[in-house]
């Protein structure tokens, strides 16, 4: 090798990444991509807060004195009082291999915004996000809690914490609020209370639960959300305690199936019971199941429906046609076989129906370049998926310098290529 000459290059040591690494350093490699997206309007429709790290703040907001005391009594053991934990929750960091999933222990300014807000801001700025829709993390499994009242109390408390302490500090952070779906009446109260809040862009059912979405008890809820003009989201999760999933002996198997399974189940019930016909203006988003499952489900349901239309009498067209009118978030975007990814996006009408999601700070997060790198999408489709579709769903104003015009309504779009 040649000798090193005078005027040598600058050599800078890069630190080992651990769970104390600043988000901005962790995601530094994303920053150059973000610079290229400056004229894109980017909406991250699914990122997460780590409410477990601020659990005492959440439980402070439990309305009931008794339930609040019960939650606080458990905090002395550093437990998240009242929360149900599921097997596998602590496996997500691949046993330390993915440090940011282990913990976000980085330093934040003590006299700055709420620590959770600072953490989200760092991700927003580094990834080049305009609007970030944040969901809870451990609470995504709360629908499996055996006590319905716990879901109600904690769900309401979280909604208060999120709307009073988090979104108030940065307009770029918005949320779809937690619906305690095991109690339909309490869900309606959430919608009534927050429908006019501009930082509340929709309402969320955590999909991990054993509740039939077609039950008549939910019709007032769907009507209320439809009237609000805001979307209803079904946010997927896993459940290793499910009897079927207990046949999986490895997290990889359970997570691969379970994170799709509950949305597969609920979407199937949603369609065959004709809910799109009952609430035609209700915008529905299916979140964090990726997109590969849709190619299967659309074909499967179409095949069965053509043979058994009498069992889905409210439907006026094939199930897949309703799917193409619903919305789906991208993450975790499957792309190991680009031909399948392309075919799936065509089948689901991704140009108008797909919404970019990062899932940050979780272990299988995606970045905006997961969309811009797709070779088969044209420029307009990329812009739509990254943010303009979400602007339409969430009624967001797109700044003029971000190619202002909202994506056209589905029927005005050219067919997917």
């Amino acid at each position: 090798m040649d000798d090193q000459k005078p005027g040598s290059p600058q050599i800078v040591d890069l630190p080992k990444i651990d769970n104390s690494t600043d988000t901005r350093d962790y995601l530094a490699r994303a920053k150059p991509h973000a610079e290229k997206f400056k004229d894109y309007f980017i909406v991250d429709v699914d990122a997460h807060v780590s409410e477990g790290a601020f659990w005492s703040e959440v439980t402070d907001k439990i309305d009931s004195d008794v339930w609040r005391q019960m939650a606080k009594a458990q905090e002395i053991r550093k437990a998240q009082g009242l929360m149900n934990s599921q097997p596998g929750t602590n496996y997500q960091d691949a046993f330390g291999r993915i440090p940011h999933q282990q913990a976000l222990n980085e330093h934040t300014a003590k006299n700055g915004a709420h620590r959770q807000v600072q953490l989200l801001q760092r991700a927003i700025d580094t990834m080049g996000i305009d609007i970030m829709c944040a969901f809870p993390t451990p609470m995504l499994l709360l629908g499996m809690h055996p006590q319905t009242e716990v879901e109600v109390q904690v769900g309401h408390a979280y909604n208060r914490w999120f709307t009073e302490d988090i979104v108030t500090q940065d307009k770029r952070i918005v949320g779809m609020l937690y619906l305690p779906f095991n109690n339909p009446q309490e869900c309606v109260k959430v919608v009534e209370k927050y429908a006019a809040n501009p930082s509340v862009v929709g309402f969320m059912v955590s999909s991990t639960r054993y509740k039939p979405v077609y039950h008549d008890d939910y019709m007032p809820l769907y009507a209320a959300i439809e009237a609000s003009g805001k979307p209803l989201g079904f946010h997927a999760g896993f459940h290793w305690g499910d009897q079927s999933m207990q046949q999986c002996n490895r997290f990889i198997g359970m997570h691969s199936i379970s994170f799709v399974y509950f949305n597969l189940l609920h979407l199937t019930n949603w369609l065959v019971n004709g809910l799109p016909e009952r609430f035609p203006k209700l915008k529905v988003i299916w979140i964090e199941s990726g997109i590969a499952w849709l190619a299967f489900l659309m074909q499967r349901l179409d095949s069965e429906y053509m043979m058994r239309p009498s069992e889905a009498p409210l439907l006026k067209k094939r199930p897949s046609e309703y799917v193409r009118e619903m919305y789906f978030s991208t993450q975790p975007l499957e792309h190991s076989n680009m031909e399948l990814t392309q075919a799936t996006m065509k089948a689901m009408k991704a140009e108008t129906q797909l919404l970019f999601a990062s899932d940050w700070p979780h272990w299988d997060f995606d970045l905006p370049n997961s969309i811009t790198n797709l070779p088969f999408l044209d420029e307009q489709a990329k812009r739509n998926i990254l943010g303009l579709n979400a602007a339409r769903v969430f009624n967001l104003e797109v700044p003029a310098h971000k190619n202002g015009a909202k994506a056209p309504a589905p029927r005005e779009m050219a067919p997917a290529k």
Binding site: S8, P9, Q10, V12, K16, R29, A94, R97, I98
Partner: protein
């Protein structure tokens, strides 16, 4: 191509590594059993800072002669794990254990008189 001296070899113990940015060229230098290997600090998955991750020995599943599961163990093969999403690469070869087409980009590295030299892509 030219080479840049990044430091002393004895500063990187067996099983440890150092990642440096030489101007804008980022490279991870690993001491793998006394032999030095180096890779560009870019994961082929999503461009993540792979060399700044943690090192784990490859997990092996032990079967008996009937092909029945006996247990899990750490093997001798060391892997560098991308901290972004957990993609693992054999430190010796730079190759993912499940897809030979997914590999880290090797960088030539040499130890001369106790100094580590890495080859950089741009002339100095």
């Amino acid at each position: 191509m030219s080479a840049v001296r990044i430091g002393k070899a004895d500063e990187i113990k067996d099983g440890d590594y150092r990642v440096v940015a030489i101007d804008r060229f980022e490279v991870g230098v690993f001491n793998n059993g006394g032999r030095f290997v180096a890779y560009e600090n870019r994961c082929p998955h999503y461009d993540g800072p792979v060399c700044q991750g943690r090192i784990y020995n490859r997990v092996e599943e032990v079967l008996d002669e009937r092909q029945c599961h006996v247990g899990l163990r750490f093997g001798a093969e060391r892997h560098i794990v991308c901290p972004w999403h957990g993609w693992e690469f054999n430190l010796e070869t730079g190759v993912h254990p499940g897809d030979k087409h997914m590999k880290l980009k090797k960088v030539n590295v040499e130890v001369l008189d106790g100094d580590i030299w890495v080859e950089t892509p741009r002339p100095r």
